[in-house]
Subunit: 661 residues, 2 copies
């Protein structure tokens, strides 16, 4: 079979995927084989990138939302000249390789986001495209458009079945993100078999309903794909979906168009037959024809040219707008503006009681002018979460100069978009909802933690003290389940002062996400709390050096513990009160410090928290106890709930006293 | 203003909602005011129900997916004659009342499901409608259609923005659920303001794309609503969406059509003005005109007639098909068939190693013929989760006689549908996905636990030992975060034998959901494990009465702990091995039993689990330690991961030995 250069290149992608999966004896060959044509056209004719500098700020972003097809991406990265040697493709899915089973942000250059959990990449792409528009509105000047790139993704049936894709697609249409272009691998096959088993919606009509520009092409007709991409670029007022009708496992005589091609190696015999069918030497492994490599590697020259042109443009920009240029560079470097901490509001001890959600809102309002990279919103709850910046405008289609996003009742998309906004660079996203609804966005929170993205979740209404809305709206297990996520700092501040400290920690944190757990109800502003100590996760609030009992608490229960200490003092019992806003941060302290706060000799310890006990045993020990809430809540005014469920100073003191008996 | 009887009734609904919210000084008046017309037409002209017997099996199901409008439902329940006295409406949102802030299953008769978390009720309704079709296919006989009812819901903008509504709507269209009829409260207002802020999709086109029958009406034109409901009933091949254009807070001179009407009391003055505008005595509170009440209460006679007619039909049915009738009664009573336990497969100790997911599949296959109420599937992963019943057919549109559901890549809808299937009665649903993706369906799991629904989650690929797929697919915090949910029994069996025991517990459990955490990798079938002991949550596997150290473990780490015991024995150290498949079940045991398993005197304790340590401190104590995995995983063959991350008998023994030093 005679093959032209394009075909040779496409088959190089295919056979690299086939070989890597076969060698690993694990992985997904079908998708790379099916989408090789479309990806080839995109990567060699449209994608603006420089393999020599994966961090070039104005590159197009490419997201492989169907992350199981990771070998497609690894092949393209290697072939176009990223620092990903062929040797690493041979170590696909092995310990310590740069080529894990699904693309992982930070493991190989050019991987823009971690994908695999379906639908997440779809939403990340919307965040990336939105970031481009926000930064363009802020930084571009006439004739000096330093922010100007597309965001592309390859999405699968699975991505489009997941609810997050609906939420994110609806938002992308609403926001008119015209530079967002998705190639949909419409291959008709899922793990259980034909997509007909579970998926018969009219995808084109659905995306048209969201306000997208929709095209359908033969996913193996490279010219048609080329034309469709050009058309998608022209449609600047709407995001684009290009439905590529493909054959999964393209070229495999026995497995093409079957679920068997999806998630397992073809098998040695079928690998040979497939290579024969593709006109490939059947015994060659990891074969990269010189002409193909040369053709792919032209990306280096093209990328270099493009980046040089952009750098020249940026030179003019820096000459014309030196302040903006400096700000751009600061923002892209992820450095906070000097002295930002001084703008944190100070809350006077003893001043009027204030809910920590309201205090959080004040902190955000105070920081917003100084930290312009802060951008965010809530999942249709800003009057409750206090996350609306009153001095700034909304962000809407065609009006990207605002600071306030309206995510709608779409927590999951909010989480996925926040990840995309953070991944782009130049922005520090925050997003608010009720703590109980953190469950709706948990898969995105996990990915933020896995990627180490410094996003900030504003989770208000943080306990049963939500009150009348009842158990569906009262978190009880959410604090514990957020504490379970590695690399997520969950902080539940005791009052307004600790809230300021918590925001300071969240902003200073560059290595992972932070969740702020804030109260609905008003809380006293305490003299004992220390904003600076929040960063240590736990500290002594009150009590002498030689206590008989330690009371530890978080959030709204801290004030109750302080009151209980007075009650105990009246009974001649010396109690220490420890505020424990963040276990994660406390665990990161040296053992010596932790033992100063919780002296091992004091074994009478009571933890007070209006949530499940899970995990508190680490701090209270076998001789201690927990005054927690280990069932669902109830609908009633919150003060009634405090009485009924025993979160009062009297009940706390009584429980502490019994510990000493 | 002269008002006719219909108008009087509708305004009775409105003013009850207004008054209850005002009296509670908390709640959502706007939705009941806006949807009163549509709800009135549905409840008085279409809904087949008997307020005197809320448990009548063949009643139409009504779901208030927009649960924040709970006063609409409470008003209707009281007015039509359910055992919900007016006094309880006056105690709206108060401690111990039958009228919590959001409708809660079990708190008031006629509440078919707990709603409030948006989108959940939408998915529950799809499950209810599917249950009707499944049971109809199984039990109906020509001329003896004992299962024949509609499922209605009121859904809101918020419901339709949530991703779960997309997943469930797509599935409902795919499954051709023609007896599902949803009224959409299209009021143009959300909490943050106009829906235009975030929501501009073409909802009619979107639902048409899913294969729904879509109509749009003036939501205050009762005749139009009447006609639309009739049309929706005629469209038997497709689910129906009736878009009701309404005015939120209808009748309020100053708050109608504003976000202010949504989530707070109107205020005393506005209450008066609204009543005046509605032609209502402005000072009357909780006024129920006699004519209105009489008209609503006709539901009792109608319901009695309908139920009597059905009971007569069932009498014929029982005469014609006595076995089926007996089976129907057993199923509706929620009783398992006698002797079902004897069909649990026995796995021989020492037989070939088998993954617990595969063992779970064998258990399911063995139970399916004996327990015909078992119905389920997976989120497009059945070849991996082993949840496909090979002897039974698929469930598809128009072919409801199968047992296998294909949920598609829609974990969240799966969770919501499972709740609906369980709520209907007559079925015991199960659903499978990878444990890491339990995060995608967590809000539905929480509601199953809150409602006490006996659904079974089959969560396979339960640890880093997923292997090559890498950290995105490797759960580390999921076991802990499931353990955090009250009333959910999470069980991680050690081998095939414990897997049989775990399924036995799950099926016998009637008061809440069960999550089975099953391995991808093969595990030895152990002589020491005891299927019967799984119900106690933890038990002694091996070791003498006076051990120096206790090794405790779950799932795949149990075999490692047993091996480690041999290593320690070789060093002269006596170790006890405890299997802890379920903390929830263990905590439910008497203290005496727990202390037999974990004698307080033995403080050298090591917990071994390939997941985060959170919560293990309760069992290992201050002198103990955890050999856990407190970070994300890595992509590599699982045996390599076991070595690299220290989950080997040698590493466990070494760690245990150091505890004794």
């Amino acid at each position: 079979m005679k093959v032209d250069l394009d075909q040779l290149c496409v088959n190089t992608i295919r056979t690299l995927a086939i070989d890597a999966v076969q060698k690993a004896n694990s992985g997904h060959p079908g998708m790379p084989m099916g989408m090789a044509d479309a990806a080839y056209v995109l990567w060699t004719r449209y994608l603006k990138h420089n393999p020599a500098d994966p961090a070039w700020a104005n590159r197009d972003r490419f997201v492989l939302s169907a992350g199981h097809g990771s070998m497609l991406l690894y092949s393209l990265l290697y072939l176009t000249g990223y620092e990903l040697p062929l040797e690493e493709l041979k170590r696909f899915r092995q310990w310590g390789s740069m080529t894990p089973g699904h693309p992982e942000y930070g493991e190989a250059p050019g991987v823009e986001t971690t994908t695999g959990p379906l639908g997440q990449g779809f939403a990340n792409g919307v965040g990336l495209a939105l970031a481009e528009r926000l930064l363009a509105a802020e930084f571009n000047r006439p004739g000096l458009e330093i922010v100007d790139h597309y965001t592309y993704a390859i999405v699968s049936d699975g991505d489009l079945m997941e609810g997050i894709s609906h939420e994110a697609a609806s938002l992308a249409g609403h926001l008119g993100l015209g530079k967002l272009i998705y190639l949909y691998d419409d291959n008709g096959i899922t793990i259980e078999g034909s997509t007909d088993l579970a998926y018969s919606e009219d995808v084109a009509e659905r995306f048209a309903a969201y306000g997208w520009h929709v095209q359908a092409v033969d996913g193996h007709d490279r010219d048609a794909i080329d034309v469709a991409l050009a058309q998608a670029q022209v449609a600047r007022d709407r995001p684009s979906l290009i439905m590529c009708r493909t054959h999964i496992g393209y070229g495999s005589p026995n497995k093409q168009d079957t679920a068997a091609a999806h998630g397992e190696p073809l098998g040695e015999e079928e690998v040979r037959r497939t290579k024969e069918a593709l006109g490939w030497p059947p015994d060659a492994e990891f074969l990269v024809p010189d002409e193909a490599l040369a053709h792919f590697r032209a990306a280096l020259d093209r990328g270099n040219e493009a980046q040089s042109a952009w750098e020249a443009l940026f030179g003019h920009y820096a000459a014309e707008c030196p302040d903006l240029a400096a700000e751009w560079q600061r923002r892209l470097a992820g450095e906070l503006p000097a002295g930002w901490q001084s703008f944190l509001p100070a809350f006077e001890p003893g001043s009027a009681a204030v809910a920590t959600r309201a205090a959080g809102g004040k902190v955000l309002e105070a920081l917003a002018p100084v930290v312009p990279e802060l951008v965010g919103g809530s999942a249709d709850l800003h009057p409750s979460t206090k996350t609306f910046l009153k001095s700034y405008k909304d962000i809407q289609a065609g009006a990207y100069g605002g600071r306030n996003l309206h995510f709608g009742v779409r927590e999951h998309a909010m989480g996925g978009l926040m990840n995309g906004l953070a991944l782009h660079g130049g922005l520090r996203p925050y997003g608010g909802t009720f703590l109980v609804f953190s469950d709706y966005m948990r898969p995105s929170i996990r990915l933020a933690a896995l990627m180490g993205l410094p996003v900030v979740y504003v989770f208000t209404h943080d306990s049963i003290f939500v009150g009348e809305d009842g158990p569906t709206h009262q978190p009880v297990e959410q604090a514990a389940s957020l504490r379970a996520i590695p690399n997520l700092a969950a902080i539940r501040p005791a009052d307004a002062r600790e809230t300021a400290g918590a925001w300071a920690v969240a902003l200073a944190r560059s290595e992972g996400p932070t969740a702020l757990l804030l109260s609905r109800q008003r809380l006293p502003v305490l003299a004992e709390t220390d904003p600076e100590a929040v960063g240590r996760g736990g500290y002594v609030l009150a009590g002498d050096d030689d206590p008989q009992v330690i009371l530890m608490a978080t959030g709204s229960e801290v004030a109750v513990a302080l009151e209980a200490r007075d009650v105990l003092a009246g009974q001649g019992i010396a109690a220490r009160v420890v505020s424990m806003p963040s276990w994660e941060l406390f665990e990161a302290q040296p053992r010596k410090y932790r033992e100063q706060v919780l002296p091992p000799a004091v074994t009478a310890r009571l933890a007070v928290e209006a949530g499940v006990a899970l995990g508190w045993d680490r701090y209270v020990g076998a001789a201690g106890a927990t005054l927690t809430h280990d069932r669902f809540g109830a609908s009633a005014p919150y003060k009634v709930l405090a009485e009924e469920f025993g979160f009062t100073a009297g009940a706390v003191a009584e429980r502490a006293r019994t510990l000493l008996e």
